[in-house]
C-alpha cells in the first residue's frame, strides 16, 4: 500500500479536492463547481445551517484536513455564521491548497461558479505533486456501520466484519464501531470488554444516555424495513449490529471528530449530550459515516441486508451484503457477498478474511462499487457534545 503523506504525519488513501458549502444558500454554487469535475477526485460536502454550531464547525474542520483530502474550496454566501476565515486558516496551516469563494463578494452565482471552477482546476494539478509513501495496516483507521439491516445482517455480514476488525486490530490498525442507540440492552456485555474499569463505566453510561435520548424522542433506531426483514425489536437489532465490533478489547470511547492515535478498537458515541435539542441523533446512515470520517476513518465497512446503495464523499465505502437474495438482485452495488455463509458456501472466518483483503485492495487504490457508481453522499446537521473525559482514552 502507498499513501499520500500529509503534514501531520497521517497518510491518505485518496487525494480529493473537497468543495464545501458553508450554508445551504451556497449549496447550488458549490454543486455547479463540483459537478463540472465529474469523474475526477472532486467531492461535494457542506453544512446547511446559518446558525453557528460548535459540532458542525469541528466536523467541517476535521474533514477539510482529513488525510484523504488534498485541498479544499470553501463556498460562502457571505452573511452566514460559519467561521469561514478560521477554517481557511486551518486548511492553509495544514499545507493544503485552500480558497474561499464569497458569492456576495464575487458578484453572484455565475461569477462565483467561474472563480471556483478555475481554482479547482489548478488545485487538482497542484495536489498531483503530493508525496506518496509506503503505508501499513497500522496507518489505517477503518469505521463500520450497518444500514438497511434485516435479520441476516446479524448472522452473516456483521459477525464477518467483526472477524475482519479482529484481524485489523491484531495488525495494529484502528477500528471504530458506533451507534450506541443500537446497543440498548447490551451495555452489560459490552462494558466488560473495556481495557479499564473507568472506561467500562463510560461505555455503560453512553448506552444509558442513548436509551434515554431515544425514549424522549419516542422512537428507537428502527426503520419499517428492519421489521420486514425479520427483525422484531431494538434489542434484536442491537445484538446483530453489535457483533460488527468483533472480540477485541475496547480501547476507548470517542465522540465525532476525536481521532484515535493508538491501535485498537474504539466505540464512537454519536448521541448528543444534554436534553434533545436538534432532533434525532443521526437522521440517516450517512450522518454516521461522516462522523467516522471526521474521526479519521480512511474507509468504511457498510453492512446491509435489505440492500443500501450509499457511498460517501472523502472516504471509500465497502458494501458487505448479508442477504443472499438481496445480493442476487443488487450485486452491482455490493463489494462482498456475505450471504453465501447461509448457503454453506463460505464460513464466517473465510468471509472475514475476504473483507480484510478487500480493505487492502481499496486502500491500495482499487475502487469500491459505490465509488465506481459515483456515490458521494454527505449529510451534516446540528448537534451538541461535551468533550470526552480522561477515562475515555486510557493510556
Amino acid at each position: 500500500m502507498q499513501g499520500y503523506l500529509r503534514s501531520d504525519g497521517r497518510k491518505g488513501i485518496r487525494n480529493v479536492i473537497v468543495v464545501a458549502y458553508l450554508v445551504e444558500c451556497a449549496h447550488h454554487v458549490a454543486r455547479e463547481i463540483s459537478s463540472s469535475f465529474k469523474g475526477q477526485n472532486v467531492h461535494l460536502i457542506g453544512f446547511p445551517g446559518c446558525f453557528p454550531n460548535a459540532y458542525a464547525d469541528r466536523i467541517m474542520n476535521a474533514l477539510c484536513i482529513h488525510p484523504n483530502v488534498g485541498g479544499a474550496l470553501l463556498v460562502s454566501l457571505g452573511c452566514e455564521s460559519f467561521n469561514r476565515n478560521r477554517l481557511l486558516e486551518n486548511i492553509h496551516a495544514s499545507g493544503r491548497p485552500g480558497h474561499l469563494v464569497g458569492i456576495q463578494k464575487q458578484g453572484g452565482t455565475r461569477k462565483a461558479v467561474s472563480d471556483g471552477k478555475e481554482w479547482v482546476a489548478n488545485a487538482l494539478k497542484e495536489i498531483e505533486k503530493v508525496e506518496k509513501v509506503d503505508m501499513q495496516i497500522s496507518d489505517l483507521i477503518v469505521g463500520t456501520v450497518c444500514g438497511g439491516s434485516d435479520a441476516t445482517s446479524g448472522i452473516t455480514a456483521n459477525p464477518a466484519v467483526g472477524r475482519a476488525f479482529d484481524r485489523l486490530v491484531a495488525n495494529n490498525g484502528i477500528a471504530i464501531f458506533e451507534e450506541t442507540g443500537e446497543m440498548i440492552g447490551l451495555e452489560g456485555i459490552m462494558s466488560k470488554r473495556a481495557v479499564t474499569p473507568e472506561l467500562s463505566e463510560e461505555l455503560r453510561k453512553s448506552v444509558e444516555k442513548a436509551a434515554k435520548y431515544y425514549t424522549i424522542m419516542g422512537h428507537g433506531s428502527f426503520a419499517p424495513g428492519n421489521a420486514d426483514g425479520g427483525l422484531t425489536t431494538i434489542e434484536e437489532k442491537s445484538m446483530g449490529a453489535y457483533c460488527k465490533s468483533g472480540n477485541s478489547p475496547i480501547s476507548g470511547l470517542i465522540k465525532p471528530g476525536d481521532v484515535p492515535h493508538k491501535a485498537g478498537l474504539y466505540l464512537m458515541d454519536v448521541v448528543p449530550d444534554g436534553e434533545p435539542r436538534f432532533g434525532f441523533p443521526n437522521i440517516s446512515d450517512n450522518a454516521e459515516i461522516v462522523e467516522m470520517i471526521a474521526s479519521g476513518s480512511h474507509l468504511i465497512l457498510f453492512t446491509t441486508g435489505r440492500g443500501s446503495v450509499v457511498g460517501s464523499a472523502i472516504s471509500p465505502v465497502i458494501k458487505i451484503c448479508a442477504n443472499p437474495e438481496t445480493y442476487e438482485r443488487m450485486d452491482e452495488d455490493m463489494d462482498i457477498n456475505a450471504g453465501k455463509i447461509l448457503l454453506n458456501k463460505a464460513t464466517l472466518d473465510e468471509t472475514g478474511n475476504e473483507i480484510f483483503e478487500k480493505i487492502i485492495e481499496i486502500a491500495s487504490g482499487g475502487l469500491s462499487c459505490s465509488e465506481e457508481l459515483g456515490h458521494q453522499e454527505f449529510i451534516l446537521t446540528y448537534k451538541t457534545f461535551e468533550p470526552i473525559g480522561p477515562s475515555c482514552l486510557p493510556q
Partner: protein
C-alpha cells in the same frame, strides 16, 4: 436441507436461513412441523413451547418477550412479541405495540 438454524445453544428461537415454502417440513423440539405459510429468510420460529411473558432468547441474550402463548414452530414477529425497551415502529398501525 435443514432450513432452520439455532444461533446460540441457549436460544429458544430458530432462524430461517432459506425461505420456507408452504408444505416444508422441519423437526422442531422432537416433533415434525409442517408449515402452511411462507416464512422469509431471517425470520424467527419458536423452538419450544413459550408462555405469554416469556423472554425470547436469540444470540444467547434476551431480545424481548412473548405477548401470547406460542407453540413450537410458530412464526415469531411483531404480532406476538414486543421489545422490553422501546416499542417498535412499523408502517402498519396494527403492529404498533403499546409499551
Amino acid at each position: 436441507m435443514n432450513k432452520l438454524i439455532q444461533i446460540h445453544p441457549q436460544d429458544n428461537v430458530l432462524i430461517v436461513r432459506q425461505s420456507i415454502e408452504p408444505g416444508d417440513k422441519e423437526m422442531i423440539n422432537d416433533a415434525e412441523i409442517v408449515f402452511d405459510k411462507p416464512i422469509a429468510l431471517g425470520h424467527k420460529i419458536a423452538a419450544i413451547h413459550l408462555q405469554k411473558g416469556d423472554v425470547i432468547i436469540k444470540y444467547g441474550v434476551p431480545i424481548g418477550s412473548a405477548t401470547m402463548e406460542l407453540v413450537a414452530g410458530t412464526h415469531i414477529h411483531l404480532h406476538n412479541m414486543k421489545s422490553d425497551y422501546i416499542p417498535t415502529y412499523t408502517l402498519d398501525e396494527e403492529f404498533i405495540h403499546a409499551k
